[in-house]
């Protein structure tokens, strides 16, 4: 670990500053410019993201920046390891895709500024900046501020339509998120009181198993789980994600819930590498398994497409937490643990692309039909073939069928589960895949069925928007073809887990 | 000298405390909002005045003394305003709270 700012560390500052500049420009320039500001900043932000990934890949080490030249523990550090780099690039690609998709839905108004476009474009940038701050945060309190930034950017997106039920959903989301943040902060307080630092790297050197460390990590984990909507904290998610406008749902389901998950990974693998946590990891795995089963079964029973997709998010978040019992397994060595760890992260990324594509496809379908009742989707496959194709491609990842990133992730989870003798997780993965197959085919069967009368579309859907959706879905598919090299990128900066386990 | 000041402080603060106590008893025992307000604002403002007076004997310098007096004046202003508003709300809603 470098002990000063590294070359290229300034890129990390830019990753946060660029979106923030956008927010600060959008408000005074007003709604007539908000979209333009966002669209101009997107390529720049994407370039910064790619540059960070290239920097990490080239130097084969962590990028680091000490803000204001104040060294931790007094100052705040930003750090990007391979995992951060991959998440930053994922977020940048998705934000750009969602931005292109949303141009038609939140257009620049003629005349006076309008509410929804201004709020959407400003908050889209804010979500982006907050995500980057979470991915590169090296200080537990700075991460708390980043989490709050994310909350305040995400909650208003839920109620952007202003319908009463979305207001209730947004309020419930906010209350869960606030409880999560305050528990996280409480844990950080205990860690500071015990070890005198909030810096992750310094902390990992000082932390020892004991009541304070255990209490702190438990509180922070529970808080983050509430924000990540892991079972049994999942109840807020479906109404919030299903009630938001489609591009906002894509951000929320694809990216926003990954941020607290990412921090759980940080905590468990980077802050506490020296604490044996097998039982706690099993608990996380059990909650994940419950999420998979409950989420999938409830998804099967939904009458509305967006709610079905939202419940499928509940289930797919469950997979993320299966990596904990498999990756934290000191006795069998790290060979398979590394496989499970990579599988978890790959699942996070491929689900991000797949779910964003599916929510936006659902949005297009709802826009075209004027409703999203699954029972009345017949004929839409003929009317909007590309959109339905995108939905299906996203579905491949959810089910874990080849070729897709979800397939590789789930296959790796299965391998690790069997190799480590924890076969019960394999059963869960397979059952979850079957159930996901059930709800995806339920939708596809309806959509591809011939309608008794030809479908009349309420509005025409531009090919450009469909192309964006299918492109994001293809990203999820392509993740199944290019596994090895990016996966090595994921391991940069992790001394504990040998890359050998992948081969 | 300082002993005499201390005695004065103790006397004044005790007197102030007595008025506070009286005001609080009034708040708890009086039957309706208006008389409760009467007990509270009058007695407590006087009580605070005595406490401040007592502290003035201990004040270090003119500026500190002015600050203490300022506290009393602001408390008077706030008390008077709030009492007015509560009294009017009580009268308009006709409640006995």
């Amino acid at each position: 670990m470098p002990n000063s700012t590294t070359a290229g560390g300034f890129l990390l500052v830019l990753a946060i500053v660029l979106p923030v500049v956008g927010v600060l420009l959008s408000l005074p320039l007003g709604g007539r410019y908000a979209q333009r500001v966002a669209l101009i900043l997107m390529p720049a932000g994407l370039a910064v993201a790619v540059a960070i990934a290239v920097g990490v890949w080239r130097t084969n080490d962590v990028l680091q920046y000490f803000v204001g030249n104040w060294d931790p523990p007094l100052g705040v550090a930003f750090r990007a390891d391979g995992l951060s780099a991959v998440m930053i690039v994922t977020a940048a690609l998705l934000i750009c895709g969602i931005g292109l998709f949303a141009r038609a839905q939140f257009p620049t108004p003629h005349g006076a500024e309008a509410r929804a476009p201004l709020v959407f474009w400003t908050l889209l940038l804010a979500v982006w900046g907050a995500l980057n701050a979470v991915f590169i945060g090296g200080d537990l309190f700075n991460l708390y501020v980043a989490l709050e930034l994310l909350t305040f950017a995400a909650v208003p997106l839920v109620s952007l339509d202003g319908r009463a039920e979305t207001l209730a959903a947004a309020l419930r989301y906010l209350l869960f998120a606030l409880l999560g943040s305050i528990l996280y902060l409480l844990g950080a307080v205990l860690l500071y009181g015990t070890y005198g630092t909030l810096d992750i790297v310094l902390l990992s050197g000082r932390i020892q198993a004991g009541p304070a460390a255990w209490g702190a990590i438990s509180l922070m984990t529970v808080g983050l789980l509430a924000k990540a909507a892991l079972y049994p904290f999942h109840l807020w998610l479906p109404p919030a994600h299903a009630g938001a406008p489609a591009p906002a749902s894509a951000i929320l389901s694809g990216l926003v819930v990954k941020a607290p998950f990412f921090l759980v990974v940080r905590l468990w693998f980077d802050v506490t590498p020296k604490m044996p946590e097998r039982i706690a990891a099993q608990v996380l795995g059990i909650l994940g398994a419950a999420a998979i089963l409950v989420g999938s079964v409830v998804a099967l029973r939904q009458a509305r497409l967006k709610l079905l997709i939202a419940y499928s998010t509940v289930a797919q978040i469950g997979y993320l937490f299966l990596m904990f019992p498999l990756a934290i397994e000191p006795e069998t060595g790290h060979a398979w643990a590394s496989t499970a760890w990579t599988a978890g992260m790959l699942q996070a990324i491929s689900h991000a692309f797949a779910k964003a594509a599916m929510f936006m496809a659902a949005g297009l379908i709802a826009e075209a039909l004027g409703h999203d009742r699954i029972a009345r989707l017949s004929g839409i496959g003929r009317a909007l073939p590309i959109t339905v194709l995108a939905f299906g491609l996203g579905g491949l990842s959810l089910m874990g069928l080849p070729p897709s990133g979800g397939f590789v992730a789930k296959a790796m989870l299965l391998t690790a589960a069997v190799a480590e003798g924890q076969w019960w997780w394999a059963v869960v993965v397979l059952t979850g895949g079957l159930l996901a197959g059930g709800y995806v085919f339920l939708v596809l069967a309806r959509a591809l069925a011939d309608a008794s009368e030809p479908v009349t579309l309420r509005s025409t859907i531009s090919p450009g928007r469909q192309a964006v959706v299918v492109a994001l879905a293809l990203c999820a598919v392509l993740l199944g073809f290019v596994p090895l090299r990016p996966l090595e990128l994921l391991q940069i900066g992790r001394p504990d887990i040998a890359i050998g386990g992948l081969r | 000298m300082s002993f005499a000041l201390d005695v004065l402080t103790i006397l004044a603060v005790l007197t102030g405390s007595f008025f506070f106590l009286a005001g609080t008893v009034g708040l708890l025992r009086f039957p309706d909002s208006l008389s409760r307000l009467h007990a509270l604002t009058k007695a407590d403002n006087l009580g605070l005045g005595f406490v401040i007076l007592g502290l003035l004997f201990q004040a270090e310098g003119l500026f500190a003394a002015l600050k203490l007096v300022g506290i009393w004046l602001f408390a008077l202003l706030a008390g008077a305003t709030v009492a007015q508003l509560i009294a009017r709300t009580a009268r308009m809603s006709g409640s006995t709270m």
Binding site: F10, L123, P156 | Q84
Partner: protein, 310 residues
Amino acid sequence: MAFDIGLATLVLGVAAWTIAARDTFAAVIGFVAFGLLLALVWVRVAAPDVALAEAALGSGLTGGLLLSASSRLAHTNGSAVIEKPSAIMRLAAALFCTLMSAALAAIVLLLPEPAPTLAPQAAANLAATGLGNPVTAVLMAYRAIDTLLEVVVLLLALAGTWSLAPDHLWGGLPGRGDPVDRGGVLTFDAQLLVPIGILVGIHIFWVGSVAPGGEFQGATILAAMWILAMMTGLVDAPGVSGRWLRLALVVGPAVFLAIGLAGFALAGAFLAYPESHAKLVILTIEVPVTLSIAATLALLVAGPPNRALK
């Protein structure tokens, strides 16, 4: 010690009242008292800066916000009685929370001795910032990035609050528009207090570089004065699309960010200040930041646009 035990007991009692009170309005009153007592506790733990922030923000502004909300929701109390969780649920919750408190208290009692601290480092580097108040040095120099992001958090909260307006009222004015207590004692008060309050707010902000105080505490007082003036109709709330208002809201974070970026060139790092002029640079940031925070806080209390622009 006796005083501390008494104070702690009082805080606990008021907090319990806040949770247990039947009536929401009464609970909110309890919360305001709780905040004020907590400010005293902050003085007792040698944190006067936090005491000021707690009294102004935690008790004052939050209390005002909750009071007005509870009076607007006053007649919805009844419906909630039906939806109360069952006695068994409540008992389980009480048990769980007691255990949690006990565990936390145990961890506090087991905290290491001597306690780890960054106080020596914060004091040693104080000279490099040109400041005399180490808390302000943490906020404006050592961890300036937290403060910068936090001002953005405030802005986002305001954008989120505004986003709740119905579409046709976008650009309109927040609040109800009818001054409370027209020509009454509150208006008189506002006329008297607002100028004094503005002076006090500026003073609190200004002394923050050397003594307890700072931009957040000062800005809160300024915000309170604006709220008082809006409540009593001395000034009307601004329309949310006004160019000047928007500029006032972002000028603080924008200057902060600009100077932070200039640090790349002038001091070798983002949010680093040239040592010879550190204090001047920090003040240059603090003045607009105070203005922006004050405006944001006041408008957060005022709420989403509620009336069409005249």
